[in-house]
Symmetry: C2
Subunit: 364 residues, 2 copies
C-alpha cells in the first residue's frame, strides 16, 4: 500500500509538497512520470531514468496486455523485473487506450469489446479484467477502468458516461486482491462543472487511496482544462494524492501544480524529442531548423543532462537529419531531463515558499 | 604522428601484441574499431564505447563529406570534438564508399566522379581532395584514396587497378600537410597472389607509417580471404601496424590476428544487432526467434555488458518485436561489447603465449 504525506503547503497557490511512499520507494511530489508504454520509456534505459531523477514511471496496460501479454510478464517476475526498473511504477487501466487506439469499440455495462491495433484480434476488457491484468503486471499504483468521455459531449451523454465510470470503479475496487498495490479512482465529468462535481462526489465516496482527474487534454481550450482541473482538485480530499492524467506542457505542469495536483504523465517530452522539438528554458526549439546547422552551443546551457553537457546543437541537428538512432536517444534524454528538472524547480519553490517566478511558453 | 611497438610475438602463430600511440591516446592491438559512419557509432554514445573498452573508432569520409560536410565539422573543432569522442579516430578515404554506394561512378587518372546517394548532386574526389577532407576532419589515422578492385576481376583489370591505387597513394602522400595525422597506404591486388605481392611492394616502397589490406570481404570464398590476408600480412614490414579493412566475423578476427593483423573494422556487430542477430560465446542467435519468448536468461552469461547484466532474452525479444528504439541500443551495446571482449581474449592469449583455444562459428 501507499502512504502520502503533505509536507508543506504553498502560501502563494494551492500547490503542496508531498512524499508518496510505495512498496518500491518514495516519490517527491509534485512529480512527472515518464511514459513507458511498452515496458520501456522510448529510447531510454532505466539507468538514464535514474540519473535524471525520475522516481516513478508509467506503464500502459492496454499495450502490455496485447504484447507481450500480462501473463508472460507475470511469469518473468512482473513488470519491475521484466523491464529492470526497480522503483515505483503506475499502470493505467487501459481505458483510455482502448478507446483512443481503436475506432470500433463496443461498450456495454459489462465492459468494452475492441480489436487489437496490432493484429485485429478481438478482445474484451471489463473492470475485473483490467484489475486482473494490472495485478499480473504488479505496478505499485494501478488505475480503475473508466470510460473517458469524448470532447465535446453534451450533459446527458457526459452524465451517463461518468455514472458508468463510477459503477466500474466500484467493480474494480471489489476485484482488488493484492495488498501490495493501491488502486486510484478516476474522476470524469467532461467540461461540465456540475458533472465534475457529481463524478468527484461519487468516486471519492468509494474511498480510494488516491484520485486521478481524467478526460482532460482531449482537444479542449486551455481555459477549460484549467477550470476543470482547478475545480476537481479543490473537491478532492486534501490528504490523498491527485493525479492529472495525460497532461502536458511545462506550462500546464506549473499551472496545475499551483492548483494542488501532485502527479502528472504525458508523452509530450519523449514524442516531441523524436520529432526534433526540444524543451528549453522559456520555450521550445526545432533542432531540424537550419539556424542550428553551425551552432556550437548545447540545447540548453542550464540543463544538466548528458546531451547538453557533451554535444552541440550542430551535432544533434546532423544526427537527426541523417536519421541516426543516437539522435532519438540524446534528444529524448534531454527532454525527459528537462521535465524532471522543471518539477524539481516547482518543488523547490514550494519548499522555500516563494512564488512560481519561472515561466515557459510554447509560443517562444 | 603515431608510434607502433610490438610488445610480444605469439609463438603459436604470427600474431603479435602491440601498442599504437596516437595524438589522442594509446590503442592495444590487435584491436577492433567500431564503425562510426556518420559521426556516430549507430545507437551508441561515446560513453557506451568507452565503457566497453573501445580505444579507437572509425569514421567514413564519404558520408561526412556529403553530410554534414567536412568544412562544417572543421569549423566546429574537428571530428573528435564534433562527436565528443576524445580518443583516437581513423577515417577511411572514401574510396570504398564512393564505389559501393554509387552505381554511376566515372574513374579517371585524376579521380572519381560520382553522384551523392542522398540528393543526387555531382561530386568529384581526387586523392588530393580525399586528403583535404580527412585533414579537415582531423582523425589521428587517415587512409590513402584507393580504387577497390571488384570481385571477381581478371589479372589485367586487377593489375591496372592496383597500379592506379599506387599512383594515387603517392599523390595522397604528397598532399599531406598535417604532422598530427598519419597516412596509411592500402594494398590491393584482388585475389591474385602475384598481384598482392606487386601491390605490397609498390605501396611499401612509399614508406607509410602503417598499411591496410584492402579489397577483401567483397564476396570471395573464405579461403581466398584468408590466403590473401596471410600472404599480404607476411609481406608487410614487421614493425608497422597492419589493418585489415572491413573484416569481419569473430572467427575472421581470430584467424587474421593469428596471421599478424593488428587492426580491424566492420559494421557486422552493429548492423547485425539492429536486425536482432546477436553474437554469443560459440555462435550467433536471432533474438526474434520464438524460442526466446519466455527465456529469463541474458543474451550471454559471460558478457559484461549492461544489457547482459540487466535484461532477459524475453525482454529484449519483446522490445525488438514491438519496434522499440531501446532494442537497437541494448542489442548494439551487447554485440559491440562482445567484439571488444573477443579482441581482449585474443590479446590475453598472445600476452600469456597460449594457443588460441577459443572458437566461434557462424553456423552454431
Amino acid at each position: 500500500m501507499i502512504k502520502f504525506e503533505v509536507l508543506k503547503k504553498h502560501s502563494h497557490s494551492s500547490a503542496r509538497l508531498g512524499v508518496l511512499t510505495t512498496p518500491h520507494g518514495k516519490i517527491n511530489t509534485p512529480c512527472f512520470m515518464p511514459v513507458g508504454t511498452q515496458a520501456t520509456v522510448k529510447a531510454l534505459t532505466p539507468e538514464n531514468l535514474e540519473s535524471m531523477g525520475a522516481q516513478i514511471i508509467l506503464g500502459n496496460t492496454y499495450h502490455l496486455y496485447l504484447r507481450p501479454g500480462h501473463e508472460l510478464i507475470q511469469s518473468l517476475g512482473g513488470l519491475h523485473k521484466f523491464m529492470n526498473w526497480h522503483h515505483p511504477i503506475l499502470t493505467d487501466s487501459g481505458g483510455y487506450q482502448v478507446f483512443s487506439m481503436n475506432k470500433l469499440t463496443k461498450v456495454t455495462e459489462e465492459g468494452v469489446k475492441f480489436k487489437s491495433h496490432i493484429d485485429g484480434s478481438s478482445h474484451f476488457i471489463s473492470p475485473e479484467k483490467a484489475i486482473e491484468i494490472q495485478q499480473a503486471l504488479g505496478a505499485d499504483i494501478i488505475m480503475a477502468f473508466d470510460e473517458p468521455t469524448p470532447y465535446p459531449s453534451d450533459i446527458p451523454t457526459t452524465q451517463k458516461s461518468l455514472q458508468l465510470t463510477t459503477r466500474w470503479a466500484k467493480r474494480c475496487k471489489d476485484a482488488m486482491k493484492s495488498e501490495n498495490q493501491s488502486l486510484f479512482g478516476i474522476v470524469q465529468g467532461g467540461m461540465h462543472p456540475s458533472l465534475r462535481k457529481e463524478s468527484t462526489e461519487q468516486i471519492t465516496s468509494l474511498d480510494f487511496p488516491g484520485y486521478a482527474i481524467g478526460g482532460l487534454s482531449v482537444g479542449e481550450e486551455k481555459h477549460l482544462m484549467n477550470d476543470m482541473t482547478e475545480l476537481t482538485a479543490s473537491l478532492l480530499p486534501e490528504l490523498k494524492p491527485r493525479y492529472l492524467m495525460g497532461v502536458g506542457t511545462p506550462e500546464n505542469l506549473l499551472t496545475c501544480s499551483s492548483m494542488g495536483v501532485d502527479m502528472f504523465d504525458c508523452v509530450m517530452p519523449t514524442r516531441n524529442a523524436r520529432n526534433g522539438y526540444l524543451f528549453v528554458t522559456g520555450g521550445k526549439i526545432n533542432i531540424r531548423n537550419s539556424q542550428h546547422q553551425r551552432d556550437p552551443d548545447p540545447i540548453d546551457p542550464n540543463c544538466p543532462c548528458y546531451t547538453c553537457k557533451n554535444f552541440s546543437r550542430a551535432y544533434l541537428r546532423h544526427l537527426i537529419m541523417a536519421g541516426e538512432i543516437l539522435a532519438l536517444h540524446l534528444l529524448t534524454l534531454h527532454n525527459s531531463t528537462f521535465y524532471q528538472t522543471w518539477m524539481k524547480s516547482i518543488r523547490q519553490a514550494i519548499e522555500k515558499d516563494i512564488p512560481f517566478s519561472f515561466t515557459w511558453s510554447a509560443s517562444e
